[in-house]
């Protein structure tokens, strides 16, 4: 299992760069991932999405459906893509430390 070191923290990740354990998440992880996800500066909007994804995951054990993410944050899918160019799955969920999306993706 590859692991990366960033600002004194160690992260176990898989080949797609998703965190292996949700508990390992910390604010440094977001800083580490944002470059590979094409994000220059983190805004409050980014944090709002990440925070909601984490709350939803802790409460329900799954990532929210895209329509729930849109409805709760108030961001249309287009805006979510503007915030996270790789999209809500590969971009936002990865930064939030959620497990990798599965199924026929």
């Amino acid at each position: 299992m590859p692991s990366v070191e960033f600002q004194g923290k160690n992260f176990d990740i898989d080949e797609d760069g998703f965190l292996q354990r949700f508990e390992d998440w910390c604010p440094e992880w977001v800083d580490y991932v944002k470059d590979s996800e094409g994000i220059k500066d983190l805004t409050d909007e980014h944090n709002k999405v990440i925070e909601f994804l984490q709350d939803y995951y802790k409460k329900n054990g799954i990532a929210p459906m895209v329509r729930i993410l849109s409805k709760v944050t108030g961001y249309k899918l287009k805006h979510i893509y503007e915030l996270f160019p790789s999209g809500p799955g590969k971009g936002a969920c990865k930064m939030a430390g959620l497990p990798k999306p599965t199924g026929c993706v």
Binding site: Q20, F22, G38, I62, A63, P99, K100, T102
Partner: protein, 382 residues
Amino acid sequence: MAFVSSGYNPDKPMSDRISDIGPRNYEEFLPPVIKKNFGKWLYHEIIEPGVLMHKAESGDEVYTVRAGTARLVTTSYIREACAIAKEYCGGHLRWTTRNNVEFMVESLEDAKKLKETLNAKTFPGGSHMFPVGGTGASISNIVHTQGWVHCHTPATDASGTVKVIMDELFEEFTSMKMPAILRIAVACCLNMCGACHCSDLAVVGYHRKPPMVDNAYLDNLCEIPLAIASCPTGALKPSKMELPDGKTVKTIAVNNDRCMYCGNCYTMCPSLPLADQEGDGIVLMVGGKVSNRISNPKFSKVAVAFIPNEPPRWPTLAKVTRKIVETYAAEAKKYERLGDWAERIGWERFFEKCELEFTHHLIDDFRDPAYFTWRQTTNFKF
């Protein structure tokens, strides 16, 4: 090779980014004769196996030569096809919905010459590169999936099994002696990507063992509720367990008595792998069709519950397929698809004539609709 940039700037990923342009318009690639007569075709004929002629209102004719491909092909193979198209067809060619390749020319002599050229091309191992055929009442190409080449959920291989069956039935690809078309499809797991559920003959990869549960990692890698909800028989439930190191983790408990090894949970959760060398194999289904010619479209039905995986040549699979195809070819009436034939003579006769064993696995037991597949009449043959 060292890195060569395409001009993409990783520091500014969104600059000069082109998106949402869709596929190229098909009209850009039409041969002139097709473009000219678009929507004005009068009739068509099958001149000989693999060669079609379409007549237009203007009197124009276009001859199509159809050749088989392996679907999984290299760029050199595509270049080879392009070279042929350049030499004979003004650089035009097309691929069919069963992944055959079609070359179009404007005279019968050209078509005959093209057929000769195509049939003469072979790989170093001796296989035909572009065998001409697949028209009319024949066995055309096999619609298939990824198998062990690329997928992570297969129970069998696609390219391998397809090559075995097409080798076995090659004669039927290059001739038109069947009562009607016989469509064959291969899918490597019950996800059935492609056409297995609606083909005359379908090969489907099948597991026979429940998933293994990787308790230590499951909660980290999976969204547990998704795995639970992915099970069609409710065999999974959330549970907690203590690992040897004393740590308590959330995980999933599998009720093996309810599991029918569909593998859906593995699709959703990487910690539930179930592929198994001895357990995995093939289910053979028969009698599906998509056209509404005479009878309505039909689903294919399970005819053989299990054929073991026998790479690289799958001899049992080849033998059983040939038996079914030969029996159908000998017994069915003209225009009768395999499903039409089996329903006319009755499935008890189908099993008898094809010398297939009828096992309890073939009796539907999935939810309420299973009842409608049982026989609620005294009409049957001894």
